[in-house]
């Protein structure tokens, strides 16, 4: 009986570890995505993060395919300062499907010299594909 308890306890630890490892990976990828979108704009990184059927929804309602989103981000002429990611939360639907929510704040400096405050709440859909978490969906909403 005691042994059974130990085995069950160990299995629980394994399961918790697997989840927290997944959670760590997903949070790291979320930060990488945010940094790439608003700072480096590196298309190769985006290509490695985006699933083939990814769709990318902006706060004003337009939705882009993977190709459109990567082209749009990598050619975005705005720059961003005072960026911050906060209130990040991860939900696992099952082992392979996870939802991330976070708040993103920044000041956007447009090419024509305007400074626009950004206050976004962002939902991401990460799905494990061949052992790697890939972005399948993104929807932003403006909270200001």
């Amino acid at each position: 009986m005691k042994e059974l308890f130990v085995v069950v306890a160990m299995l629980n630890v394994f399961a918790a570890n697997a989840q927290s490892k997944g959670e760590k990976q997903i949070i790291a990828q979320t930060y990488l995505l945010s940094h790439t979108v608003f700072s480096t704009k590196d298309s190769l990184t985006l290509e490695s993060l985006f699933a083939k059927t990814a769709t990318y929804g902006h706060s004003h309602g337009n939705v882009q395919t993977r190709e459109q989103a990567i082209a749009g981000i990598s050619h975005n002429l705005s720059t961003y300062t005072d960026t911050s990611v906060s209130n990040i939360s991860v939900i696992f639907g099952d082992d392979d499907v996870s939802i991330v929510r976070y708040l993103f704040k920044a000041t956007e400096h447009t090419k024509d010299g305007k400074a626009v405050p950004l206050n976004l709440s962002i939902m991401l859909v990460w799905v494990k594909e061949k052992g790697k978490w890939k972005l399948f969906g993104r929807q932003a909403v403006s909270t200001q």
């Binding site: 769709t55 929804g57 939705v63 696992f92 929807q139 909403v141």
Partner: protein, 141 residues
């Protein structure tokens, strides 16, 4: 020849299975919208994943308990939820992502009436209890 026939048959069955999936998903989507309007708690318990996360166009996020309790208390009441377009972006045997354009009308304790034109991203999981909404985020169009 017999083999070709068998292979064709196999493809047809695979295609029809995939179609059944999207049909059952669209049914679950419509059932959920109806349950939100009619405050059907039993249907909501069935159609919402235990960890469901329901994000509104002002940034407010409800979990499963919030959705059910806020309908009961009258904090948020829907009079009508109507999709003007539905696109199943990806679907397989475990999950699906859907984008809709949706008109929602209703009332809340802070807003006497609202009439919203929304774009919505939904994530559904296929569980042993059927399709369940895991997450949803809307933004105003």
């Amino acid at each position: 020849m017999k083999y070709i026939f068998a292979i064709c048959l196999l493809f047809i069955s695979v295609i029809s299975l995939a179609q059944v999936d999207s049909v059952s998903l669209k049914q679950a989507m419509s059932d959920l919208d109806k349950a939100l309007v009619s405050k059907d708690e039993k249907a909501l318990v069935q159609l919402l994943h235990a960890d469901a996360s329901y994000g509104h166009s002002n940034g407010w996020v409800q979990n499963k308990t919030d959705i059910i309790e806020d309908l009961k208390s009258g904090k948020l009441i829907y009079d009508k939820i109507e999709n003007t377009s539905v696109t199943i972006v990806a679907i397989n045997n475990n999950w699906a992502t859907v984008r809709t354009n949706t008109n929602a009308t209703g009332r809340s304790t802070t807003i006497p009436t609202f009439e919203l034109k929304l774009h919505v991203l939904q994530v559904w999981l296929k569980t042993k209890n059927g399709w369940q909404l895991l997450a949803r985020q809307s933004t105003k169009l």
